[in-house]
């Protein structure tokens, strides 16, 4: 999709397809969000810049930015925004759109963790913590996985002693009763969201 700069076409897409996206036009570029974000220094773009890039029509750059993946949902920006923009929600909305459009930066750890978590959860309807942690440890290959696991050894043993981690979960673990009903629910929810946000 080619977008002419500083026209409203990408902004319109954001308004239609991103949760709370209609707020983006109300940003007055004061920069309080950028100054308030505790992780600001570690992002590619501050929320202020992301909003300006949306107005400038930089679709590719916005959706492939790592910024919305770095948000920890501390809500500092929302609290401080003089225009009351729900910035955290918009960032998550943009992350979702980026994911659906296949523009997430490669090997973005938050995105990877999100995917692992989702897959893990959908399988049985319950999060299998042991498998989730192992999945994270081994996402970058076997030898790195061993190193990660060794480094976290004492934490794991401690959790086991405190009965917070069941080693038997490795066998498959527990799940919910009506798994197919759960899957049907997720499917329906996605259909609804897709039609509402024109994502299909």
């Amino acid at each position: 999709m080619s977008i002419e700069k500083y026209t409203r076409s990408f902004l319109k897409e954001v308004e239609e397809r991103v949760e709370e996206g209609h707020w983006v036009k109300m940003c007055m570029q004061c920069g309080v969000c950028a100054g308030s974000c505790p992780l600001g220094a570690h992002w590619e773009h501050t929320p202020q810049k992301i909003f300006m890039m949306i107005r400038a029509g930089k679709r590719e750059e916005v959706l492939s930015s790592d910024s919305m993946w770095m948000c920890t949902s501390c809500y500092q920006c929302i609290v401080r925004c003089p225009r009351k923009l729900p910035i955290t929600h918009i960032m998550h909305g943009l992350a979702y759109l980026a994911k659906r459009e296949g523009l997430v930066p490669k090997n973005q750890p938050t995105a990877q963790f999100g995917q692992l978590f989702w897959d893990n959860l959908v399988k049985t309807g319950r999060v299998n913590e042991l498998k989730l942690s192992l999945g994270m440890y081994f996402k970058d290959g076997f030898s790195q996985g061993i190193k990660n696991a060794m480094a976290m050894q004492s934490v794991g043993l401690g959790m086991m002693k405190a009965k917070r981690l069941n080693p038997m979960e490795i066998m498959g673990g527990h799940g919910i009763k009506d798994k197919s009903g759960f899957h049907a629910m997720l499917k329906k929810a996605r259909e609804l969201e897709d039609s509402r946000r024109k994502l299909a």
């Binding site: 500083y6 409203r8 036009k25 109300m26 570029q29 300006m52 400038a56």
Partner: protein, 756 residues
Amino acid sequence: MADMKVAAYICQGCGLGERLDTADLAKVAQKEGKAAIVKEHPFLCNAEGVAMIRSDIDNEAVTHVMVAACSRRAKTEAFGFTDVALSRANLREGVIWVRPDDEESRETTQEMAADYVRMGCAEVKKMKLPAGNPETATNRRVLVVGGGVSGMTAAIEASKAGYQVVLVEKGAALGGWAAKLYKRSPSRSPYADPQDTGVDEMIAAINADSNITVYTNSITSKTEGAPGRFKIDVSQESGATVTEEVGSIIQATGFTLYDANNLPELGYGKSPNVMDQAGLEALAKAANGGPIKRPSDGGEVKSVVFVQCAGQRDETGKHLPYCSGSCCLTSVKQAMYFKDNNPDIDTVVVYTDLRMPGNGEDFYRSGQTKGVTFTKGKVSTVEATGNTCKVNFQDLILNEQTAIENADIVVLATGQVANSGVDVDAKLKADIAAAAGDETLLNAWNAAQAEGAVKPISVLNLTYRQGPDVPQLKYGFTDSHFICFPYETRRTGIYSAGPVRRPMDIVQATEDATGAAMKAIQAVENAAVGRAAHPRSGDLSYPIVRIEGCTQCKRCTVECPFGAIDEDEKRYPLFNESRCRRCGTCMGACPVRVISFENYSVDTVGSQIKAVDVPDEFSEKPRILILACENDAYPALDMAAMNKQVYSAWVRVIPVRCLGSVNTIWITDALNSGYDGVMMMGCKHGDDYQCHFVKGSELASYRMSKVGDTLQGMGLEPERVQTFEAAITDIERLPKLINEYADAISALPPSPFKGF
């Protein structure tokens, strides 16, 4: 008036009785002050005390009253005797409240009080009861020059208050800038949409008002006189001239948009699709709610770019250096012309800082809601090619050079240039800058004088010696005391309102015009009874000149900040008392001291200086004279006293109307009398001056800069005489300043003039 009879009253209230030996003070008033009646009273400002004074005036033929109690700024109603000359010795704020209450300080505190009693008696004997300016004139009509929103508002408001108005408009019809608008920025809640200008209703109201006489196609070709008796030649385009008599004048001549022809780099003149804000208003007016078409070919408009600060806030020296404060509102409004017609049109406002005065923030939000895009950036060039333009700019958030392609219309937000006429101080300002090493102004002035150069056209065509228009401060806007007297120009009885005074939008201009109308009404009422206008509002004294002593040096005529003094045919100063603000700058300037006021003169202050008892050089009690501006420095000292800030017992403070009224003879007198130092406190001067009389403190500091040589001639150290800038808020600073200065003076050897 019968023979002078002085009565002195010494108050014992507010702790004066406990802290001071009032019986001793009474003796001073009687023996040294030569007061015929001297009375002490335990509570002078109560009904009984006031009645005692009243009774003496009525029954004992007292003509001059000296009240030794609190500051002259306190209890003005109780001691407001209007039928006698009155002086006040400030024993409370001036003495006991600024001195520590201990045994050690008792002697010096008493000496201070005794001196103030001597000074009060000496002053009152030189005073006369002001009789009021005999040059009263009772024309109560108001002239309004300029028929835009400001002028029409002023006319309507003055008429509503019951005053007749003459309204002169240069153009063919009333309405001014606002009449050229399709709509105006909102003035009412919810401040969301452009609204009708209301100009037609205003014109109808004026036409229906029998109190308002309108001249269109007319200019004020000659203005002479003074408040209460201005005579105006109204020249009409037809060639006819009508003479109108009015009491005061409101100049509401508005602004002209900065000439966009100076901005070829922004594409102006290269394509009809690039225009200034007036250009777009004309298109919107023609479209009248329908779609606005592209001027070059009548094509459909899909994209509009608004370039803010075009030729404004310029740092290169080529264009306007200031912000016009209203163009952001206008651009939001103009973007709405498109959005309200078709939300799919892209409208981008490229700004460096959006400035939304008043309730403009709500209007801005409304613009955003309607989908106007706001981009923080600085436009470098506009390339006009065919039917579209490319706007190149630096995006200041993303920090990159970028462009908007295919803009159908580009609107340049050029600023407001005041229609203020001739800069009467241009030569003076140029000379000052040249003396400081900057010749640019002088070169510009010389170029403007050259044969064939376009000379500015005067608005008022005043016949005043000081020039045909009201003085300007910066950037061509009319000069006025920005904080305290925003509408008062430096020509008494002439008020400026609206964008000729400073850049502004319609809402502010309306408020401005209403304020100026009120001031113009006050001016005619004051003129009718011979009273001063602000800031000495109500003052009945006026400058009296002993013309036989005048040497025609012209310093008074040149230095009067208000252009009150012309020259007669024999080149003597010709005072127009009702143009006078009673600052006394002429009195301070006069080298032969022939100018005075009945209750304020070289003598009233000089005799106070001489009345002070100066101890001999062996006593180790230096004396320091403080001349303090009564508008800011003296109130600050009073407030310091209320806070019980202690300062040196060596000082004797005399309030002056303005530092500009300080005649250098006072300095000489003080030093000759054996004072060890003289300290002057006046208001801030310069472009952001706070002087209530605009130029007084500046002139004083200039005069005092020349005193050093005289001091050296007298064999005195130059640091004995110093001028300080003081603001009314310097409550803690001034006592410190006094103490530091007193320490410095104490460190010097005593004045060699003591005892002569």
